[in-house]
């Protein structure tokens, strides 16, 4: 089928303002949107800049705005978005070049929630015991691949760039609800501050954007409830 890609371009070394380029070519309906972008880069215009790596929805490099919705370019097939495809960089991020945005603020917020296992008790010789049910309590949030699709779809974050955002809360949730971890109080105190969970207005954009189908708004709700419960 014939497809037309309308691609956001920003080439600061060449031209001051951003613009859009159009590329039309033949593609298979089962091709990924990323295949289309690769085709452009490899055969039509080598100057196009984008991040990509695993190409099957695990590494989280290629979160982009595709027809206005945050998706991984490698997890969307052309037949699912039609023949006219607009591709833009993630919103609320500084664009470095074309589809490449500055990820440092995103990873900065990730680091802010102490995203690592905390338990200073001496571990047993073998594994720590955790029941199937205890493990299940945080299973959903272990799926996060840090692609930023959720955080950059969040209107509260667009309004308040200081908001830690859904991804950081998801990462905190993964530890707060892990029966083996002892750092919940520290994390809940960070998430209870002005830049934390209360900025979330349950708009559900994050849940819709997540390529791993994590129930993000639900996870944020669980963290909110935990903060309230701990206070009372």
């Amino acid at each position: 089928m014939r497809v037309t890609f309308k691609v956001y371009r920003y080439q600061p070394e060449v031209r001051e303002d951003p613009y859009y380029d159009s590329f039309s070519f033949d593609a298979e309906p089962t091709d990924r949107v990323l295949d289309g972008l690769n085709h452009i880069k490899w055969h039509l215009d080598g100057t196009l800049a984008l991040r990509r790596s695993c190409q099957h929805g695990i590494c989280g490099s290629d979160a982009l705005r595709i027809n206005g919705v945050n998706r991984l370019a490698c997890k969307v097939l052309i037949r699912d978005v039609g023949s006219k495809i607009t591709v833009e960089p993630l919103m609320g991020c500084e664009v470095i070049k074309d589809l490449v945005v500055d990820m440092d603020p995103f990873f900065g917020h990730y680091r802010a929630v102490l995203p690592y296992f905390m338990n200073e008790e001496a571990p047993p010789d073998r594994e720590r015991i955790q029941s199937v049910e205890e493990r299940e309590a945080f299973d959903d949030t272990t799926k996060c691949i840090l692609c930023a699709a959720c955080t950059t779809s969040c209107p509260s974050r667009w309004a308040n760039p200081g908001f830690l955002g859904p991804a950081a809360i998801v990462q905190a949730h993964r530890f707060i609800f892990d029966s083996r971890d002892r750092g919940a109080a520290d994390r809940l105190s960070i998430l209870g501050e002005r830049s934390g969970v209360w900025r979330c207005r349950t708009i559900y954009n994050c849940t819709r954007a997540c390529p791993k189908e994590i129930q993000i708004t639900k996870a944020i709700g669980e963290v909110k409830r935990r903060i309230v419960d701990d206070r009372s």
């Binding site: 089962t30 790596s53 695993c54 099957h56 690592y116 594994e127 892990d178």
Partner: protein
Amino acid sequence: MRVHEHTFDAIVVGAGGSGLMAAVYLARQGDVRTAVLSKLYPTRSHTGTAQGGIGAALGNMGEEDHWEWHMFDTVKGSDYLGDQDAIEVMCRESPEVVYELEHMGLPFSRNEEGRIAQRRFGGHTSNYGEAPVRRACYAADRTGHMILQTLYQQSIKNDVQFFDEYQVVDLLIEGGACRGAVALNIATGELHVFRCKALVLATGGYGQVWEITSNAVTLTGDGMFLVARRGVPLEDMEFYQFHPTGIRGMGILITEGVRGEGGILRNHEGERFMERYAPNLKDLASRDVVSRAIYKEIRAGRGIDGKRFVHLDATQLGAEVIETKLPEIADFCRTYLGIDPVTEPIPVQPTAHYAMGGIPTNVNGAVVGMHGEPIRGLYAIGECACVSVHGANRLGTNSLVDLVVFGRRAGLAMADYCRHADLESAGDDPAGPAREELERLWSTAGSDGENAAEIRREMKQVMMDNVSVFRTEELLQEGLAKIAALRERADRIAIDDRSQGFNLDLTDAWETKGMLELAHIMTFCALNRTESRGAHSREDYPDRDDENWLKHTLAVPRDGSIEIGYKPVSITRFEPKERVY
């Protein structure tokens, strides 16, 4: 081009499982200034895509298991080419590192007792080959993702310093020592010289050399190429694993865990054909055996509808097993194939997956040269290294074991080395050769130049047609000639992008040239080894030939050709015998 300079004690190149494990161990020392350079954000590394599990003889599932059995399976899986001293280290230490990962917070799936859950995997058996055993410790089918996340989290906890999106483009190896690296800061296009006492390469594999591959587009073998062109040999490059079950046409990996849970391979007639090829372990025979069987079925016209794929039938597993133990696989099938594995078979074909060969090291990750001499301060771990624990064919789950066991050992060995070694001079203009190379690429323009993507496409095709599962002298000679022609054309690669920052046109071109060198070395080595062993299957030399070939190959580019050397295989516990599954 501006050049920046940095000095550290230790540098880690690559931020996948092995690199991060080494980095965590280096950082924990407290007195070793360490930096990690990675061309990707660390969580993008390919360890994250490993699915099925990490092998360790924990015996958690009510079955007896011992590291000696794991060792035997690994030796047999390697077709007796793996070094048994190194395999012993790996299998002995594996339970300990798996517990350590758990103590770092890794969320393994659990059994009824709340212990780490384990499943069956190809080639892993009890009692020296008797029957399949549950040895693969897993976190659903996201084991690699959880390892990568956990180690990145620990790196943050231990204040590891990262240089993200810094691509190493040269190594400062001179006078038998490594003195640092030159890296391109992708965001700015500027070069950075990193001087150090010890440097470890953890750059992963080079599956992008083939058309159908499970490997990320960024897996271009940079570390292997960088050492080879500085005169350090590569070991056993003729051994490359094709995983039996990649998604048809795309190569995306479908974990062996599907077969571990009871999935069955079927041909066009619906026959469970592995019964004919491996009467004992059937679908859980080792990967080289299963990949060859699939190729033979296809050749005999028994591919599905006569085409180049077979079916992986997981329908008898039931919805619950698939949704809870193999959720990613279910997602891949629904997303990319539009099928539901609960009710429909998955179309699969062998996919280029894993390099058994690589940079030769000892059991502490220290790189050794052509004649066994150490390259001071240079280490290699993970897929880019060759210890050799995988020999001629790697068992499933053992890549993850390799990453953490030898990542840890290298981290500790480097820390020790840094405390005693001095920082050696890196010369007046250490970035000179890298700058010249990149500027030459950068300044080649014009419509009569070659397109790197087109050269890459042709290389992938040649490797797929001539240097894949079955090989012959004729095919390999033809492959060698075609690769030579592509290497010549690659000297005329012209790029479109004239800018400095985020010039991926430039790095793509650079990587293409590097991959062609690796394709050349590997094809040369495949032609050189006139026997069949593990993943290296020569139809003109169908038998294993222990008398002449029970030895490792070493290969290094020299004056436009490849110089070959050999080294003996370490055999400690298990004498080579015929390999039957």
